[in-house]
Symmetry: C2
């Protein structure tokens, strides 16, 4: 059995990036009775002012060097920025500091963590939640409640740092689950990045069709609304996800295209039995996993 | 200006198919103070019993010939069944009867309506709403409220029958909008049938991937849930939609595939500027039309 980590380790926690994810995390920690001090780092003066006014953080700074004395650092910035920040932190952090992140891809992040000085500890993590809106104003303390939170070990992960990050995930109500870095990005390509790519390409093709057929936007119902929702998400966040998981995503898209071709081939030859079996299997799979 | 139709025309209304759409329509009419008598036709004894017990209809029958004396008949069955019922109704209905439907495709339905005897009237219609669950048990009086309701004229549509169907749509809270049969199926291929095809193919490919990677179902969040929702809808309803609009749907899928290929090509060559412009345009289009 694993022991709960010493609470003094989290007495000084630093959240880098005070947007939806970072601000919600700080709010959830405070709501759960977290006793440590939370410092927020943001590049925006307005965000810092709001974070302090709303008591989301105890201190705030625009300077990454303000993390110098933190015992735990949680990077909540877009993936490519946080990869840069990891290497900067190598020169800033004291020995023993635990760095974790909230990035939606892991291969490149873990590679950056593995390049940290040997006395800095790092655990990859990825809470499986979000919204199609972003920023501190839409943050909420319940964002992580009941959501999966993936943990990936790095060459800089020891048992204590792993348990610290796991405990933080539990403290905000998430359900931690360990997945290796090798598996993470392939699984997420199907579970999250493929739906995003399809949703975005669907809105794009509708936008093109709509140039000469503007009525198309007036005859939509729940099917289009739901299927297109994720396409409205934050541009920078998704650009970074696509660019740091490009190979796994193009692989998932290729598999998807074969399946879509199969569906259209049945449609072209009016293969009623084949279509019915295809549709019914999808209904069963969706219902089995989402009820 | 159009006049409101004589209310006596709708004094005897018959709803054929007492599932989600038909039962919700009858409930919405009654909730709005509709004064006519509503007869329900269903092939299921249990559905009829429920419809009568819950006061959704005033009379019920399993026999389509029970529509004989109805002044307005609303067909709420799956598309291919309702096409068969239209031609049966030609031999059953009295002169002047108004037939309408709730089918999600219109070309084949309007063709069947145009083949009715010249003294029977018919208006194509298509309320743009639904649920991923079906049947009388999930029916609700508010289903149509605020939803678009498309009307298509046929060779059997006169001004009075058009106004009668339009008034019924308004009475249940929907927003009627006329679209020609030629335009309807192409627009709907993009606005509704393409999202369904993508959602279903996505669940199908995930199901295949999940055979050897079952953890994929444990790392999903809102993006997958929303994008896959419509794939859980009624099999028969969608089989009929696909088979009666196959050409327009395969056309929309082909356009979609070009757009998806464009996205993957940019991903493969790590074209940051191109990806960013693509994503940002989709965000703008989604937000412009869904807020």
């Amino acid at each position: 059995m694993t022991r709960s980590p010493d609470p003094s380790i989290t007495q000084s926690l630093c959240v880098v990036g005070i947007g939806l994810m970072g601000a919600s995390f700080a709010m959830a920690l405070k709501a759960s009775g977290f006793l440590g001090r939370i410092t927020g780092i943001s590049r925006s003066d307005e965000t810092m002012r709001k974070a302090l006014e709303r008591n989301i953080v105890d201190d705030a700074s625009t300077d990454l060097r303000a993390v110098r004395d933190a015992s735990v650092i949680v990077l909540c910035t877009p993936v490519r920025l946080l990869i840069e920040q990891i290497s900067e932190l190598g020169a800033i952090c004291k020995a023993g500091t635990i760095i974790t992140d909230m990035g939606s891809t892991k291969t490149e992040i873990v590679r950056a963590m593995n390049a940290l000085p040997p006395d800095v500890r790092a655990v990859g993590s990825h809470p499986m939640c979000g919204k199609e809106t972003s920023g501190i104003d839409v943050a909420e303390a319940t964002l992580y409640r009941g959501m999966p939170w993936i943990l990936t070990r790095t060459e800089r992960t020891d048992e204590e740092s792993f348990q610290v990050v796991k405990s933080l995930a539990e403290q905000v109500g998430a359900i931690p689950r360990e997945i290796s870095v090798e598996r993470h990005d392939v699984l997420l390509a199907f579970a999250s990045h493929l739906p995003y790519a399809l949703s975005t390409a669907m809105v794009s093709v509708t936008d093109q069709f709509g140039q000469n057929n503007p009525e198309v936007w007036q005859v939509m119902a729940g099917g289009y609304r739901d299927t297109s929702r994720v396409a409205a998400s934050d541009v920078t966040m998704w650009l970074d996800i696509l660019l740091t998981n490009a190979d796994a995503i193009t692989g998932a898209v290729r598999d998807f295209q074969f399946t879509l071709d199969q569906l259209t081939a049945m449609l072209e030859r009016r293969d009623e039995a084949g279509l019915k079996a295809f549709i019914a299997a999808a209904v069963s799979a969706r219902k089995a996993h989402f009820g």
